[in-house]
Amino acid sequence: MAEQVTRKPYVREVPRMLWFLRHPRYMRYMAREFSCLFIGAYTLMLVVGLKRLAEGPDAWAGFLAALGSPGAIVFHLFALAFSAYHSITWFRLTPKAMPVQIGDTFVADRVISGAHYAGWALVSLVVLWLAGAF
């Protein structure tokens, strides 16, 4: 082969649309991201509830009744499952984003995630208390 310039780097194309199908860890990531759709939907529902409340007692009662429908219950179950999944995956990641160093050791990951869980439980209790559960 003669001495001549023959460089021709080959670029492998990456799928742009369904890239997350390339690897299970990408799919797990998509599941985490996807789960937030339910959280969004739930928030939207709360906003609708607020609007109904503002429209008067009848509208509010209708809203409450709608919440009791089988469809709404299924939706709530999904929303609960997905938001739990979302929170757990994020709490698992918190030690990365917020390392706490005391002296020359880092606080163990468990402790940081644990603190988040504890915070979560506390807020839930407060909400339940406000809602008059106790």
């Binding site: 082969m1 001495e3 001549q4 310039v5 023959t6 460089r7």
Partner: protein
Amino acid sequence: METITSDIAIIGAGGAGLRAAIALAQADPRLRIALISKVYPMRSHTCAAEGGAAGVIKGDDSLEQHFNDTVGGGDWLCDQDAVDYLVQEAPKELLQLEHWGCPWSRELDGSVAVRPFGGMKIQRTWFAADKTGFHLLHTLFQTSLQFSSIERYDEYYATDLLVDEGRCCGLTAIEMRSGQMRQFRARAVIIAGGGAGRMFPFTTNGAIKTGDGMALAYRAGVPLKDMEFVQYHPTGLPSTGTLLTEACRGEGGVLLNKHGRRFLQDYGMGPETPIGKPVLKTMELGPRDRLSQAFWHEQKKGNMVTTQWGDAMLLDMRHLGEQKINERLPLVRDMSISYMGVDPVRDPVPVRPVVHYMMGGIHTDIRAATPLAGLYAAGECACVSINGANRLGSNSLTELLVFGRRAALSAMEYLASDPGRGNSQAIDAQAEAARARVRALFQKSGGESIAGLRKEMMHTLEQHAGIYRSGEGLSEACATLAALRRRYANIELHDKTNVYNTDLLQALELGSMLDCAEAVAVSALERRESRGAHQRLDFTERDDARYLKHSLASFQGAAAPRVDYSDVVITKSQPGVRDYSGGHA
């Protein structure tokens, strides 16, 4: 052929090359610096150094003691003026590294920490856990990125020096990604090409350590000095040759034979020291040559454990405990588990001596200058000589900093004398000849295989130029190596393309190694004494009357090298007895 013009060209971007480049860029920002390396700088083998770098910093230490340890460790073959310069500059260089951000391990008060090392009477080895070379290299590399006057030519393989009117005027190199030959014109050249451990089959050295830098200078007429001194490190993993740093012993690890005896006490390095309380310059903290030799004797006596990779001794670190091992020797633990399946926290690790370092190299003076005007050398490829007949662990990282910088300063002084660039046409013709020589390899069809010749070379050196040598064996080695060099003329490339042709590169590397290997064997045959790492079964004593001298092997083309001798510089330490027996010599 494309020509790249600069003021100074540096071959090699390991610790020594990078240190030189930064020194130049800092001293004069107008200088154009070409930094040429066959691998990306951070791949250079400096990254593999684990243990540390020696430099006097603590109050209980003194330059004089560092000097004495180094000169005695080198069996008085060191040039003492050079050692003086080394120990004086060492703390400054290590501090400079600190100022560039090297993550040195620290004491509680924030000062740098030091650890004990073999052959050193005082703790003076600076370390960054057990990845000192890695941190040193990355600190230098990243620091170099701020200087735009350093033009890097990564993955360029230097093939020849260009010499005109007795001056070095540049080099030729293959751009590996295109396969094109390039001509580098410079007013001065610094070689920092690293060691040549790959001549041996069992080595801690990475694939790139093929002695190219030494061969470049050697073929251009610069002698190779003290090539017979090849250091074996006592503790390599028998499976891969991967090094377990001397710091294992510095931290308190001990060496056992198959009966569980700390056998070093039987070879003049005792009395036995208490487990977990290492005493400097005693037992496991003796120098590398002595430890490797003791292994050889124990092996002859059948006292070694047998592994599937051959005989081994045991490195026991269990008493250090998991926490200390994780903190100080994390890499050691990781590698023992990965490559041997042994966890040092739970079991002793089998180890055996392994080729580690070339004390010899390109003949330079204390200014890092070679006899060829305009050519400088530093790092493992050079022989100043501060290592003498046996390098002390943790002196070479220091050496590459001190003399990397020194080479830069000397080259600048040389430029100030306005040496000119030589006759352009004559140099062009040389570059063209170098290109033609490489292209000719593509045409050959002699049928000799690169891997085949390489294997024979490795086998020859291992058999005859190992820990113990004899006149008979060395004569045989010289004959075999001469024959291999002849056969090299008939090698055949299988890959005749241009882009990233590693077949071609391996052929060229083999050429370098064969030349260096012959210099090792011939120099070893000529040295009829035992000193440091060069131990002759037929001449067992040190012979200062005849051989307190550096050997200088000069290239003679196809013929074997000529060996001359030059005096060792002795300023204040007269040759004495190397004492590692617990006494404090």
